[in-house]
């Protein structure tokens, strides 16, 4: 019964813990770097990202003014990466937002009504969504409404809902048996109030870590959907789309595939490290020694 956060960390000790976690520092630096790329792309890119320059196609990285080289139409890869970061980040962020904002309340609700028909229905519905991998959801949506970034967001978002619902329900269930919840019930508080006052704050750490994980997954998922043509449509670009464009040219100019691929790897790795770091910092099990 000692697995809960013992106390809110004071700000200074939180900062110290954060700086002490290598995972967190490396992850945060990478994540902030990618975010910065996306933000800067709105006001400045080395070249207009869709400007073609056929004579200068397939230039390898570090040639002339093209830091990351050019693609098969002579477009500047760095500019495309910067603009593509917008797509990747916004799709992943919105999808996680949908999942967390719908899934968490559902999970809390199911836990508050544990053992009832409502709980059963919510959890069965979650199981059902799990039978449709995000790609299938995307395929269905695309088949109906045509491809696009919004559909990618909805598809990935739907898939995130049961992830958060289950996580929230599982964590909340263990709290509902705790004596401090019983005490709140004796004090006359209802399930909704207890969920908001006692349950949610105590599972927030878990949710935050999960959000970083799902964000990383969202980036991968967006890349995959864009790669098969179900994501962002021209003229918008994205990392997955760059990979799709490069597929037939890999043997000719490997960098057109390696640059966007590595960008994805580094981003996902960074966000995952950030999540690991957050868990290290927030995980109460590591702070149990205080007792």
């Amino acid at each position: 019964m000692t697995d809960l956060a013992t106390a809110p960390l004071r700000r200074d000790s939180l900062l110290r813990a954060a700086l002490g976690s290598r995972n967190f520092v490396v992850g945060a630096v990478i994540t902030l770097g990618i975010l910065l790329l996306a933000v800067v792309s709105f006001i400045w890119t080395p070249f207009p990202f869709s400007a073609q320059d056929i004579p200068n196609k397939f230039k390898p990285p570090l040639t002339g003014s093209h830091l990351l080289g050019t693609d098969y139409l002579g477009r500047d890869m760095l500019s495309m990466i910067m603009v593509g970061a917008r797509t990747s980040i916004s799709v992943a962020l919105l999808a996680v937002g949908i999942g967390a904002l719908i899934g968490t309340p559902l999970g809390l609700w199911a836990a508050a009504r544990r053992g009832t028909l409502l709980d059963e229905i919510i959890m069965r519905a979650n199981d059902l969504v799990f039978a449709f991998p995000a790609l299938l959801i995307a395929i269905l949506i695309t088949a109906l409404y045509g491809p696009g970034a919004v559909n990618a967001i909805i598809a990935i978002g739907i898939f995130n809902v049961p992830v958060f619902a289950r996580l929230a329900r599982g964590a909340a269930l263990s709290l509902w048996t705790r004596e401090f919840i019983l005490a709140a019930r004796v004090a006359g508080k209802g399930a909704a109030r207890i969920s908001a006052e006692h349950i949610l704050p105590n599972i927030l750490n878990t949710l935050v870590v999960q959000i970083t994980i799902q964000f990383a997954l969202g980036i991968l998922a967006e890349a995959a959907l864009a790669y098969v043509g179900l994501g962002a449509q021209p003229p918008m670009t994205s990392w997955g789309k760059m990979l799709a464009d490069s597929q037939t040219m890999v043997a000719l100019a490997p960098h057109v595939a390696i640059v966007p691929g590595l960008t994805i790897v580094v981003t996902v790795l960074g966000v995952n490290l950030l999540g690991d770091g957050l868990r290290d910092i927030l995980d109460p099990r590591l702070r149990r020694s205080r007792r």
Binding site: M1, D3, L4, R114, G115, D127, L128, F130, A131, F132, P133, A134, L135, L136, I139, L140, A143, L144, F159, P162, V163, R166, L167, G170, A171, L173, S174, T177, N205, T206, V209, Q210, I213, Q214, A216, L217, L220, A221, A223, A224, L225, Y227, V228, G229, S246, Q247, V250, A251, P254, A257, G261, I264, V265, V268, L269, G275, D276, D283, P284, R285
Partner: protein, 379 residues
């Protein structure tokens, strides 16, 4: 693709989880600790509520068949629910599927003729039942684009997609188990750190990109494998397997990274259990305790992940087929989307969903084999 990494991060659903005690008198089934790799989900201990002891004597019959039966019922319900979802999404929500399939320039006459052809003029429930019972008979309708029975289109392609998914799952498991066990048994050693670092990287690699790199190296540069295509199983098992090897590796390695991490963390969790201490007090070495006591218990969460991975591998296969130009289900579905051939999309998606639900059922059965508590308690 969406890289399926999610599997390693949401709390695994186990049968005990699903049947989480609704109240204390539920019996002696203790909740299996939900596993999470990174989410810091608190354990879910239900206090050993004393009432259970008295209550359990009342319903302590052996119930393996009952458990299987209840999972089978759940399987059927899931199938019905999934078919309803697919049906509703593709036939009711968007309005007239015939018009949708014909595109913007459809004349009302053409749409009407197509509706007639597709059997879309009957009442909703009739169409649903026709579709479901048709599928049960192996009749998936006529493809609008190809003008041939959909079942014929599926028949060849399914023998590419399913073997590919199974191949990849086997590879992933064969790699992940030893790697995860080694990492857990040498916790915090250099080996462990190296494994964790590598798997951390593996988790971040998009499998279709990894597939492109594999082609670049093994097909273009080394010329060990062909860059794509599938010669067909009639060329012999070896030829077929060889053609599927690069795609399977591309699918398997990222999955193996996830599974190895899950295996490691599940093992580390079980190694903290009291019964491991008991085993050590009996004189078992650390290694013996791990192999004889921890492994089987760690398998329960790992099984959940394997089940989920299969579904993601199936979906992942759809994308990998694109890289290697394999004539699989995915390839067919994407062509069908482009051709607005909704009948093919509907049934193709349904087949994949059925496969996922079937695997879920098999995993449930596997739980009962691993965990005696499910065999002897009701539900």
């Amino acid at each position: 693709m969406h890289k399926n990494i999610f599997v390693h991060c949401f709390p695994a659903s186990t049968p005990a989880d699903r049947n989480a005690p609704t109240h204390q008198a539920h019996g002696t089934v203790e909740p299996i600790a939900t596993l999470e790799l990174r989410g810091s989900l608190p354990h879910t201990p239900v206090p050993p509520f004393p009432l259970a002891a008295r209550a359990s004597t009342l319903h302590n019959r052996s119930a393996m068949p009952a458990y299987i039966l209840s999972r089978a019922v759940s399987l059927c319900l899931s199938l019905v629910a999934a078919s309803l979802v697919v049906f509703v999404l593709l036939e009711i929500v968007p309005g007239d599927p015939a018009a949708l399939m014909l595109g913007l320039n459809a004349t009302p006459e053409a749409a009407g003729a197509l509706r007639e052809l597709l059997g879309l003029n009957g009442p909703v429930h009739e169409r649903y039942l026709n579709w479901v019972f048709g599928m049960l008979r192996g009749d998936f309708g006529i493809s609008y684009a190809y003008k041939v029975p959909v079942s014929e289109l599926f028949a060849d392609r399914i023998w590419v997609s399913i073997p590919l998914a199974i191949y990849a799952l086997t590879l992933s498991t064969l790699i992940a188990f030893p790697v995860g066990i080694i990492a857990a048994s040498r916790r915090n050693s250099a080996t462990d750190v190296a494994i964790m670092g590598t798997t951390q990287l593996g988790v971040a690699v998009p499998n279709f990109w990894f597939a492109m790199l594999l082609v670049l190296l093994f097909a273009v540069t080394l010329r060990w494998f062909s860059a794509g295509g599938f010669p067909g199983w009639d060329q012999g098992l070896f030829v077929g397997m060889k053609a599927l090897t690069l795609p399977a590796i591309a699918l398997a390695l990222p999955q193996a990274s996830i599974l190895a991490r899950v295996m490691r963390s599940a093992l580390l969790d079980t190694l903290d259990e009291d019964y491991i201490r008991s085993a050590r007090a009996k004189g078992l070495t650390r290694r013996q305790a791990l192999w004889r006591h921890a492994l089987r218990n760690a398998l329960i969460p790992v099984l959940t992940i394997i089940g989920l991975q299969f579904s993601f591998l199936l979906a992942g296969a759809i994308i990998i087929e694109n890289v290697f130009f394999l004539p699989g289900l995915g390839n067919l579905i994407f062509k069908a989307i482009a051709a607005r051939d909704l009948i093919v999309v509907k049934s193709g998606v349904m087949i994949l969903v059925v496969a996922v639900i079937l695997v879920t059922f098999l995993v449930d059965v596997a739980y009962a084999i691993v965990d005696p508590r499910l065999r002897t308690s009701t539900r």
